[in-house]
């Protein structure tokens, strides 16, 4: 059941009404209802994987209790190892088995062996990377003594499988979400309308921006040999907006949906394309994943309190792992590696801590020339890396980049961009993108662009704004498209 489907448009109000109807009795019943709804939501993709979700949940619930109750250090380590091995084992099997087998076979082939390994027809359970990381953060936090395990299996199960975040995050922390699950919730009209507004904005990003950009990025990437360098660059830019609209749109819908039930989830995106360097970009892009890697990989490795070279090593480890998390292919690993390379000057010369805590040009209408240059160069670096992410092999990535470089050095790139835009794209996508960027820019200090746009305005005006967005959704929607991050 996709967030941008009619099924979900029926599912959500039904669960919402039932949820607040039983509120008068107790929140435990609300939790049970949400858990049942979440399992139904997940089962609508593939019923077979409900067992896997239930097993993974029970494993972390059980090992969490065991770690907490264990008397000796080795006992605690034992239960932690069990949890990590089984969780990572599932992930490795479902997501990486074929990749490992193929890569190993290729390696042996280089040494003259001709192995005969069997590849499996494995269906990747949707959201496995997300709920595995949920569970792992829970047991890590118990192991480190940051939290105590919950003894209530319903509460824990809901923490793992709460439907707004189950299939594509944000990757929640027990320290943040569990206390909300374990406390009673009261209906808050302001939160309710804010939730609906964020859902609407998420739909706008997904349906209008991402899905429309997907048409052009798909067209270019799938037949890149037939396009000019300028067209390839535009294809990559379209893909940048596709990924951003798709994933941040999903996150907005997830956050908005959770808010309807009285929950606040972690903010996952904060206007990343206005970042001034790669370090800032990673504090604004898929925040829940980057902070997960920071807390459970980067800091345990020594974080920023070690020598510069060790710091650099840690950065590379984190980014390579992050790339691998995004998919079982060398392209994804190289994508992560490229981001690590982009981080080198920052780590060596600026220190690990990001200098940019505040959003760019705060309190001003326009950025300075320097800031504009920084934003554009960061955007282009991310685009470069994303070309590697999107193409299917390193050879394709290089061929794609080569064409862009040749056009750039020949000075044809702008003419080719104009030709591509005139011949294959037209005005509408351009206008939509400009409108989107302007809205994001003007509201970059908010949690999401529509947050304050409609606040404190007369009811009629607010409704007109919502109505206009609905009309745009109606006119520019593409028929049911998947969310990109489901594949992770």
């Amino acid at each position: 059941m996709l967030f941008n489907s009619i099924d979900f448009a029926f599912f959500l109000p039904i669960v919402f009404v039932l949820y607040w109807l039983i509120n008068k009795r107790n929140f435990f019943l609300q939790n049970i209802l949400l858990l049942v709804a979440s399992y139904y939501f997940y089962g609508s993709w593939d019923v077979r994987f409900l067992a896997l979700l239930a097993f993974s949940t029970f494993l972390d619930y059980f090992t969490g209790l065991k770690i907490f109750n264990a008397t000796g250090g080795s006992n605690r380590k034992f239960w932690l190892t069990i949890s990590v091995v089984v969780n990572v084992g599932f992930l490795a099997f479902f997501k990486y088995y074929n990749f490992f087998i193929e890569s190993f076979a290729e390696l042996l082939l280089n040494f003259g062996f001709r192995p005969n390994f069997t590849l499996l027809q494995i269906v990747l359970p949707v959201g496995i990377s997300f709920y595995t990381f949920h569970g792992l953060s829970y047991v890590f936090d118990i192991y480190r003594g940051k939290i105590q395990p919950t003894r209530n299996l319903i509460d824990y199960s809901l923490f793992v499988s709460f439907f707004p975040l189950l299939v594509a995050g944000p990757i929640e922390r027990a320290t943040h979400l569990l206390p909300q699950i374990q406390a009673s919730r009261t209906f808050d009209a302001a939160k309710f309308s804010d939730g609906l507004r964020q859902i609407l904005w998420g739909l706008f990003k997904k349906v209008i921006i991402a899905d429309n950009c997907a048409q052009y990025s798909g067209m270019v990437f799938n037949h890149y040999e037939q396009y000019s360098g300028g067209a390839l660059l535009m294809g990559a830019v379209f893909f940048m907006f596709e990924v951003y609209g798709d994933f941040s749109g999903y996150s907005d819908i997830a956050l908005g949906t959770a808010r309807l039930f009285g929950f606040e989830l972690l903010q996952n995106f904060s206007f990343p394309y206005f970042s001034r360097n790669i370090s800032e970009f990673w504090t604004r892009w898929h925040i829940s994943l980057s902070s997960w890697f920071r807390d459970y990989v980067y800091i345990p490795l020594g974080g920023g309190r070690v020598s510069k070279w060790k710091k650099l090593r840690n950065v590379f480890i984190v980014f390579l792992l992050s790339g691998f998390w995004h998919g079982a292919s060398f392209n994804r690993i190289v994508w992560g590696g490229l981001h690590a390379v982009f981080m080198i000057p920052i780590v060596l010369w600026s220190g690990a801590d990001n200098r940019y805590k505040e959003i760019v040009a705060k309190g001003k209408l326009f950025p300075s020339i320097k800031e504009l240059f920084q934003i554009i160069s960061t955007f282009l670096l991310c685009t470069l890396a994303l070309i590697v992410f999107r193409t299917t092999s390193i050879g394709d990535s290089l061929a794609y980049l080569k064409k862009i470089c040749i056009s750039t050095f020949k000075g044809d790139i702008f003419v080719q961009i104009a030709e591509f835009w005139r011949g294959s794209v037209g005005w509408t996508p351009g206008l939509l993108l400009v409108m989107f960027i302007v809205m994001e820019w003007l509201n970059r200090t908010r949690k999401y662009a529509l947050e304050d746009m409609a606040k404190d305005k007369p009811l009629l005006l607010r409704w007109i704004i919502y109505f206009v967005i609905l009309v745009m959704l109606f006119l520019f929607a593409n028929r049911s498209r998947q969310f990109i991050y489901f594949q992770f």
Binding site: I6, W20, F187, A189, W463, F474
Partner: protein, 322 residues
């Protein structure tokens, strides 16, 4: 909480009412469309066609056989039900839909292509069905293709989601009806194009392929023939001209034509095969390897009427009338 829920209900109530009105408006405009495939559905639905001779088939039927010429030459009324981009499975549904609003024909000229009994999975040009999704025949057949979701048949306006160009066109036609001009006459779609270099380039990239008949389509075909036999409707199979360059792309073309001969034989029908006709090798008649242009269609229709007359296949009453 009550206040919030009431606000949301009022808002979505207004949205729902607007959606319903807009949906009805768009349906009404679609039903007045005078061009593209939708125009044929509209003419069928308006009734009164009541043709003696019906032409059925794909785009090759729609563009190759001129019903006006047949009517003039034979004296029998004639209409072309040819559907662009589709195969027999859906052409059969169009015929059944035709029978809901029009009299049975006396004769059917069934244009058969190599791909007639194949079935594509997508609902090509799905917009033509938009105004008629509530009809049982159209709903029944379109549900068997990838195109509409279950909700499209039940909820207002949903089927128009993302159809920005069509919606703008329908509004434009409403305000400026002069744009709503017919592009085909009695279902016949004359294409005034010549064979271009681009056609050769496209042909070069097209690899030869094998046609695999679809079992559901074959079943529908058999049932259609059985129905025609029962009702005494004369059916003539016609394999209209294909340029040799187009014929060469279908690996099992001979097998497919043999299959049609077998169907014709077992039902005692004639099959007029123009694959070897002298017309086929002359590019002047074609706009591409499988479609005749306006001139080609004119020449071919004349030839077809001559052959039908020669074999005494045209409806007897009308010939006498003539």
């Amino acid at each position: 909480m009550k206040k919030s829920i009431i606000k949301v209900l009022v808002f979505f109530g207004i949205v729902g009412a607007v959606a319903l009105m807009l949906s009805n408006f768009l349906d009404a405009q679609m039903k007045q469309l005078k061009y593209e495939d939708a125009a044929v559905w509209n003419e069928i639905t308006n009734g009164g066609i009541d043709a003696d001779i019906l032409i059925m088939g794909s785009s090759r039927a729609a563009t190759h056989i001129d019903p006006n010429a047949i009517a003039q030459l034979s004296g029998a009324s004639c209409y072309n039900l040819g559907m662009m981009g589709h195969n027999f499975f859906i052409e059969d549904a169009r015929y059944n839909y035709y029978l809901k609003f029009n009299k049975e024909p006396k004769m059917i000229i069934l244009s058969l292509d190599y791909e007639s009994l194949q079935r594509r999975s997508d609902l090509f040009n799905h917009a033509q069905f938009l105004a008629y999704l509530d009809d049982s025949v159209i709903a029944g057949v379109t549900r068997q293709y990838e195109g509409f979701s279950n909700y499209d048949y039940k909820l207002p306006l949903l089927k128009y989601v993302g159809e920005q160009t069509l919606i703008f066109t329908l509004f434009k036609n409403y305000f400026k009806p002069k744009y709503n001009r017919p592009d085909r006459i009695k279902g016949f779609f004359a294409r005034d194009f010549r064979w271009s270099k681009e056609v050769d380039i496209t042909l070069d990239t097209l690899k030869p392929y094998t046609v695999v008949p679809d079992s559901l389509s074959v079943k529908a075909f058999e049932s259609f023939l059985e129905q025609c036999n029962r009702k005494g409707i004369q059916v003539v199979f016609v394999h209209t001209p294909v340029h040799p360059l187009g014929q060469a792309k279908v690996i099992n073309s001979g097998q497919i034509i043999d299959m049609y001969y077998n169907f014709a034989k077992s039902n005692k029908y004639e099959l007029l095969d123009y694959a070897e006709d002298t017309m086929c090798s002359n590019k002047e008649y074609f706009m591409n390897s499988t479609h005749l242009n306006k001139y080609g269609a004119e020449v071919f229709t004349k030839k077809l009427v001559e052959d039908l007359t020669l074999r005494n296949l045209l409806p007897a009453n009308d010939i006498e009338k003539k």
